[in-house]
Amino acid sequence: MIENQKNYLTYPKGIMSWLLTLDHKRIGLMYLFGGLAFFFLGGLLALGMRLELAAPGNDFMSNDTYNNVYTLHGAIMIFLFIIPAIPGALGNILLPLMLGAKDVAFPRLNLASFYLYTLGALFTLYTIVSGGVDTGWTFYTPYSTTSTSNVIPMTMGIFIIGFSSILTGLNFIATIHKMRIPGLTWYKLPLFVWALYGTSLVQITATPVIAITMVLLILERLLGIGIFDPALGGDPVLYQHFFWFYSHPAVYIMILPAFGIISEIIPVHSRKKIWGYKFIAFSTLSIAFIGFLVWGHHMFTSGQSVFSQIVFSFITYFVGIPTGVKIFSWILTMYRGQVSFTPPMLYALSFLFLFTIGGLTGIFLGAVALDIHLHDTYFVVAHFHYVMQGGTIVAFLGGLHHWWPKSMGTMYNQTVANICCLGVFLGFNGTFFPQFLLGLRGMPRRYATYDPQYADLHSYSSFWSAILGLSIFIAIMNLLWSLRKNNKLDPGTNPWGAMTLEWTHTTSPPHPHNFEEEPVLEHGPYDYDKVIVEPTFKK
């Protein structure tokens, strides 16, 4: 281990060394704080919605205001938090470390990615302060081509953030292919790397299409080109094809990194070799590929041809299979392991429960006959919150708790963290399970008010949303509180006894250049059956 106390947080010094950094760990940290800031903003918008919906009638939001709130909530959460957060924050910090590399393939491009994210975020903030946008995050035409709200700045923001995503994906692909240490073959990689690889492939292939779609939408508004607006001779369903060709693979951009985090947490906190390594690795690639074939299942009520409905529905059923393979592999990993109920593990267990519900309900929606009734109801809202929040965000929180000691060199209060995890689990189920019932009973989404028969379920949902919000807030504050002075861990700390390169060959926090000398690979990432790595935890 390195004798001097230099780590990437403290060296080099000065604000310019951060703003112009080429260190992937610093860039990751900046993504982390940017992402958390937008998570917070999106969360406030959500709580505002739940407050409005707690009772029927327009309590404090007009319908127009409500339209703006849910649009911004969706766009901010998806484009400014969920899509960039795990690859941008955890991916950036960890990927080179897991590969034994000194940095990503293209460090300057990495910084450019972050600044594009920032620029896109500024466009979004401008949209908010200049009157908002009320089309829904999906910007369906012809409303989005004729709405008087600020569609163009918002879509410009998404266009720019798209490039941030593309460049990150490009960087990671090149890094994973080319920057591994000798002996680190594909099948010895941590599964988080496989997850980032699959995500990056989807990012570079799908995101260009949302970019061109946003351009076309802007031109339709500015010039009336006539591609998407029926009044101009266009076809609104074509817009939906363009939009969902990206946005369906985008949900895999959101979930694959989360799967990767779970694949790291479970073997470590069960002190057991992962079961089905190759199953998990190849299921990642299968999901990435099949995800490109199913986008029309978002369009079952749009008026597309019945023939394509059948095709999309049929293929949609296949995409659940590789996901199921992963769930079984994780469960089999825990079986006969020494499971410790640490915060990361509790989040991983929550993930298994919540994501399974979310994934299953997605399969329900894949049946055309069922979707005709459930489309645009709260059933869909519940489904995607179970996968995006119960899935990705829970996994993200788990990953933060797992890698916090490594990347920050401090340990948070684990009791508080566990209580917050329980609060998240209960709050989440309390908020969103009633929404399945609301949807089945016909409550439409994107409505500021509703008939009295839905009032009870809405009030439960709103109550538990406060618990959920509070728990997430305290969980993050607990993490940040650990950064106080004089709370540093010994740099050699490995509190979970993990055995991937970022734990075994770097200090906590890591040195600016990652490794004193290039690591020599000694064992696989989860060889708990062959190697003993004792947890160490010293202050």
């Binding site: 292919h177 292939t205 299409v209 009336g224 006539g226 029926p230 009044a231 101009l232 001779g233 076809d235 369903v237 074509l238 094809h241 060709f245 490109f292 074939l293 986008w295 029309g296 008026g303 597309q304 041809s305 019945v306 023939f307 394509s308 095709v311 999309f312």
Partner: protein
């Protein structure tokens, strides 16, 4: 540092360039012959041949690591998926309900206010005589 052990010979470059120019001429020539639906097929075949020559020789894919060729082919494959599956919708509208096959308004509304013009873009009156532009108010 150059790591191409292989430097493409000058003769290869010149031959390929000549072939590309030749094929460009062919495609123009064929376009003047009416072959019905085959015109577009032949035009695309010629274009694909030219594109293949550019990719393999000018872009060096023939001699490079096969991963790079794979990336390029995959990009075309995903584009193909986008096109094909979208066409499964657009080509089969009206399969169950014939009335949804065509748009309600075939012509965009703004055409109602546009006068006929001659080939120079000057408006034409009812007698068919054209009036060269006198004012800017054209739209």
């Amino acid at each position: 540092m150059a790591h191409q052990h292989h430097i493409t010979p000058l003769s290869t470059y010149l031959t390929i360039a000549a072939t590309l120019l030749f094929l460009s001429g062919v495609t123009v020539w064929v376009s003047y012959i009416d072959l019905g639906a085959m015109n577009i097929v032949i035009a695309m075949l010629i274009a694909t041949t030219k594109a293949t020559l550019v990719a393999l020789f000018f872009m060096h894919l023939l001699w490079d690591d096969k991963k790079l060729l794979t990336i390029f082919v995959m990009s075309l494959m995903f584009l193909g998926i986008f096109i094909t599956i979208t066409l499964l919708d657009t080509e089969f509208r009206g399969g169950v309900n014939p009335e949804v096959k065509n748009p309600i308004n075939k012509r965009a509304a703004f055409y109602d206010s546009l006068p006929l013009t001659d080939t120079h873009g000057n408006p034409v009156d009812e007698h068919g005589s054209s009036h060269p532009e006198e004012d800017e108010d054209h739209h």
